[in-house]
């Protein structure tokens, strides 16, 4: 049915739909196992070279631990009950900070992107706040909120806020004015218009800003935990550095990479769903 109609449409319509289809097909064709295999080549090669260097004794073990000792460090931490509690508290901080920061960012972006008055009122201040290097907030947050969960989550929320706020408010300003006018002509105003035209139009920007915000959240988590914490992956990093536990350092870095990638993939799933629903 759909194919028949695409074939039957005029030149402009069919050319456009062809473009859209090719733009959506970003992944390689071929079966899933082939793509998984291709993606695994480099990590496996790195692991092999790593093992080789250690086995040949090219770098002393106090500078480069063996892969096995990194795994053992993980097992050891797990046995002490430290591994999972560290992971759990870090993931919890990231998720709360990320969700809170992005939601506030989305609301601020909607207000600034849609209302000239709010934009004139808020945009300069937010721009100035954004210019403050985010780590500069750490001592202040520590003082105000104490060295506890609140200050860490607040810092992560600040990290998540700005990518969402900046990207989405700019995108809202560039929504096709003709579509907005059409919405107005059919009696839609304010938040109803936002829900009909503007928000759906900026869904792709919202998603890419969420991905940025998530990466920022992990960055700020480690920053917060490095500076002041008694538990968490960042704390484990400082602790391991102080004790010369290079095997644990490697372990935590690998864990951060894995969890960062896993949470990003979750946003990717959300992206696929939203683009199917709201993409053109």
């Amino acid at each position: 049915m759909a194919d028949q109609f695409i074939a039957a449409t005029g030149t402009a319509g069919s050319a456009y739909s062809g473009l859209a289809v090719s733009a959506r097909r970003k992944t390689l064709p071929g079966p899933l196992w082939l793509r998984v295999l291709l993606g695994a080549i480099i990590p496996l090669a790195v692991l092999g070279i790593w093992q080789l260097i250690v086995s040949l004794g090219l770098i002393p073990s106090y500078r480069l631990p063996s892969p096995a000792s990194v795994v053992l460090a993980g097992v050891d931490l797990a046995n002490r009950g430290l591994l999972f509690s560290s992971i759990a508290i870090s993931v919890q901080r990231v998720l709360i900070g990320f969700v809170a920061g992005s939601l506030v960012g989305l609301v601020a972006a909607s207000a600034v992107g849609l209302s000239r008055v709010v934009s004139s009122l808020l945009a300069p201040t937010l721009g100035a706040l954004r210019a403050v290097p985010s780590l500069a907030w750490v001592p202040l947050l520590g003082l105000y909120l104490g060295i506890n969960e609140d200050s860490k989550v607040a810092l992560i929320a600040i990290g998540a806020f700005f990518p969402v706020y900046t990207t989405v408010s700019a995108a809202l300003r560039h929504v096709d004015p003709q579509l907005v006018e059409a919405g107005r002509a059919y009696g839609y105003t304010g938040t109803r218009l936002l829900g009909l035209v503007q928000l759906p139009a900026v869904v792709p920007s919202v998603i890419s800003s969420l991905r940025l915000a998530l990466a920022q959240s992990w960055l700020f988590l480690v920053a917060a935990e490095l500076l002041a914490s008694a538990l968490g992956l960042g704390h484990l990093l400082v602790d391991s550095q102080n004790n010369g536990r290079i095997d644990r350092l490697f372990l935590v870095i690998i864990l951060l990479g894995v969890f960062g990638k896993v949470t990003d993939a979750l946003v990717g799933l959300l992206e696929r769903y939203l683009l199917r629903r709201w993409g053109s």
């Binding site: 005029g10 059919y186 759906p200 053109s280």
Partner: protein, 263 residues
């Protein structure tokens, strides 16, 4: 759903100025309920501006627009507008786009039935679940018309509705518009730059332009009003229409050669 009866429109002394550029001046026009009026004029002669006053998307600086005796104040439930571009929301299916036009208080089931009815009227029932990028320009323009009709308008305002379509599709769409007009009789005010289209569709044709001898920023006025003879559907090749066509083109030609027409 009961279709709203066609409503009369009265423009009295309507003027509109943007900054120091006066676009419209002293526009007086009475449109009877159910009448089709076409506005023609050279590019930049204020046709669309005039239309936007009736559509409620813009307000005149002077004068009033009255629909069925009550003055117009902003976007009005009794009018619906369709633009030169279809302006469909790309993330909604054709049917969901037509839904946008439904009055806010429409119950769900009733709205769905009305959308189906309108899609049948504009011959899009087979395309209802397609996205705008999957349909042709003519189909998209029909969807846009259906969306306007979904509002149940007493006055239908069309801004060069077929201007972006190829010549053949345009002729089919003109016949479709007349069919729609007999099925859902609204008052239709339409802007076009196609003289033949105006003569084929309209009861009266309004020629808009600046008065001879006046500078271009003195504002457009109604230069002439032509009552088109004969009942619709009209013979596209009739001799009396050919005479009117020459007159109208003459009127347009004067404005296009106006020395002050450069912006």
């Amino acid at each position: 759903m009961p279709t709203v009866p066609a409503l009369p429109v009265v423009l009295a002394g309507v003027g509109r100025t943007f900054g120091d550029r006066r676009v419209l001046r002293d526009i007086d026009l009475e449109i009877a309920a159910g009448e089709i009026v076409a506005i023609i004029g050279a590019s930049g002669s204020g046709k669309s501006t005039l239309l936007r006053q009736v559509g409620g998307l813009d307000q005149p600086d002077s004068g009033t627009v009255t629909i069925d005796g009550t003055p117009l104040n902003g976007v009005d439930q009794r009018t619906a507008i369709a633009f030169q571009e279809p302006r469909l929301l790309p993330w909604r299916s054709v049917a969901r786009n037509v839904e946008v036009g439904l009055p806010r208080s429409t119950p769900r089931a009733e709205g769905r039935a009305r959308v189906d009815e309108l899609l049948r009227l504009v011959q899009l029932e087979d395309a209802k679940s397609l996205r705008p990028r999957q349909i042709s320009g003519g189909m998209a323009q029909r969807a846009s018309l259906a969306r306007a009709l979904a509002r149940g308008p007493g006055v239908l305002v069309l801004d060069e509705p077929f201007g972006a379509l190829d010549a053949l599709t345009r002729l089919t769409m003109q016949d479709l518009l007349l069919e729609i007009h007999s099925a859902e009789p609204a008052t239709i005010l339409l802007v076009t730059h196609d003289v033949d289209e105006a003569l084929y569709l309209a009861d009266r044709v309004i020629l808009l332009g600046t008065e001879p001898g006046y500078p271009a920023n003195s504002g457009a006025v109604i230069r002439s009003v032509i009552t088109v003879p004969g009942k619709r559907p009209r013979d596209r090749g009739s001799a009396s229409l050919a005479q009117l066509r020459a007159e109208l083109l003459d009127g347009l030609g004067v404005s296009t050669h106006h020395p002050a027409h450069t912006f």
